[in-house]
Symmetry: C2
Subunit: 128 residues, 2 copies
């Protein structure tokens, strides 16, 4: 059964605020969008970034983002299976929003203190 997204919006001008919020809400969408901003990723690559997400949830969130036209899902007819996710043009328009969200978080929450960088290698370097 196709889930009904976008329940009801009965605000005033602030409406646009909630409308946007509903699209990027969902437990993992923000992070997914953020990571995809840095480039195309495979399903399992995404999982690595979201250590505790379940397969079910990751799939679900990705599907919703796809439905909303933010991400593109590319399936390669190979074996083993390979599926890549990337942002669409529309998805990239969210960059300012994601950035604003991240900046605020960096400045005002404890998560701004983590010094991880998104350029870390996918696999540990062999030679240490």
């Amino acid at each position: 059964m196709p889930r009904i997204r976008h329940k009801r919006l009965d605000c005033s001008p602030g409406c646009a605020v909630e409308a946007t919020l509903e699209l990027i809400d969902g437990k993992w969408k923000g992070v997914i969008l953020f990571h995809l901003l840095h480039g195309t990723m495979r399903f399992n690559a995404l999982r690595k970034r979201l250590p505790t997400v379940t397969q079910r949830m990751l799939t679900a969130q990705l599907r919703e983002l796809e439905q909303d036209g933010f991400v593109l899902r590319t399936v390669y007819a190979e074996v083993p299976p390979k599926v890549e996710y990337s942002l669409t043009e529309r998805g990239r328009t969210l960059e300012p929003v994601i950035t604003a969200l991240k900046q605020w978080g960096d400045t005002h929450t404890r998560f701004g203190t983590d010094t991880q960088r998104e350029t870390e290698p996918e696999a540990a370097p062999a030679g240490g």
Copy 2:
């Protein structure tokens, strides 16, 4: 029982994104924040802006916003009761975020087409 906010965040750098999202998520927080950006409002004034919100929900969202240090609740010892809500300093730091959210919504959703303005009078002018 005090509800547990901020479940668990186990992202990567994108963490800050979700952290912010969790704070402004909730069915009505975005709109509330947006309206409060324009100035102090009484409980019922807020209700007028959010036509379908229930008392229970408005109270709840306001309480969470208060907990998170975004809004200030001022109770006047009068009768009939009068309670005013306004943004705290911290609350105002969210302005860029709310703005980004609104701008995107204005540009990319159907809610960008409403022409209402937030400067409409609280009460009808007596003398016309």
